[in-house]
């Protein structure tokens, strides 16, 4: 059953089954994205509840011009960014490195070097790097957000985001080498 059919049925009858279908289809995705941005499981869980309440209360505003998943995705990101701002972990954390770039030359790290890292090792590495680097890497490689979209969300231009991403990959690689010397990538 398509999303739009479920939404139409839900709007007409406020049917519990439609609610459950929509919820279960998107809840884990919303949680995953919230976890990417908010870092803590408890905060991500609370955010998922808030985002879902928001989605169901404003379902009448969804016109169907874009895909439902895109609409849900934008509500999720906007909510998380607002939350980060409120907690004063604002977007400025992303600006810090642009304003104070490290002097070292950035080594180009291939995507494969990170994407083939063992999951348990990747988890540790992501915990160890800065929040800005972590969020950028997760947005790009876990959630598959395009550079242009990340730039829009962070209020920066594409080339700045590309440079930050390049640095984040390089730092993650160095951290991985330091934490797991001699570790081989997963195949």
């Amino acid at each position: 059953m398509e999303d739009l059919d479920i939404i139409t049925a839900y709007r007409e009858k406020r049917n519990g089954i439609c609610f459950r279908l929509l919820h279960d289809r998107y809840a884990s995705k919303i949680y995953g994205k919230a976890l990417t941005m908010l870092k803590k499981e408890a905060t991500a869980k609370d955010a998922t509840q808030e985002i879902f309440t928001k989605i169901f209360l404003s379902l009448g505003k969804f016109g169907g011009q874009s895909k439902f998943s895109t609409w849900v995705y934008s509500i999720t990101y906007n909510y998380c960014i607002d939350l980060i701002r409120k907690e004063k972990r604002s977007r400025d954390i992303f600006a810090d490195e642009v304003e104070n770039p490290p002097d070292v030359e950035v080594e180009e790290v291939s995507d494969e070097a990170l994407t083939t890292t063992k999951v348990n090792e990747l988890r540790v590495v992501l915990r160890e790097i800065s929040e800005a680097d972590r969020t950028l890497l997760l947005m790009k490689y876990k959630d598959g957000v395009k550079i242009r979209e990340i730039a829009k969300m962070l209020g920066k231009n594409d080339s700045t985001v590309k440079m930050q991403l390049k640095r984040a990959k390089e730092k993650a690689k160095r951290k991985h080498e330091a934490l797991f010397p001699g570790a081989k990538p997963e195949r």
């Binding site: 406020r14 519990g16 609610f19 459950r20 919820h23 279960d24 809840a27 884990s28 995705k29 949680y31 995953g32 976890l35 869980k45 998922t48 509840q49 879902f52 309440t53 169901f56 209360l57 990170l114 994407t115 083939t116 890292t117 063992k118 999951v119 990747l122 988890r123 890497l137 997760l138 490689y141 876990k142 959630d143 997963e186």
Partner: protein, 95 residues
Amino acid sequence: MNSFLQLQEEDANKFVRVYQDDVRHHVASRLNTVRLISDIFEHFFPRLSDTVTVMMGGDTIDAEDVYLTVQEADPSGGDTPPRPPGANNDEDITR
């Protein structure tokens, strides 16, 4: 498989296993509460505002013409209540 995607899958599985039912229940009850409040507001606010307006000496916004007095409702103006259905010529109705 991309390790990041594996990570995502692990997070999603954990959510389904640990949090999903709790989150669904919480959202459903919150939606019900919001709807109950909005329904109450929708039904009673017009009456409440009319009552306050009348108490302050004004007229109701939405005067109801259908609330007729006994005299208006019964053109014959009789004191006796209307006959129950089925009763003819003062006969008793056996039920």
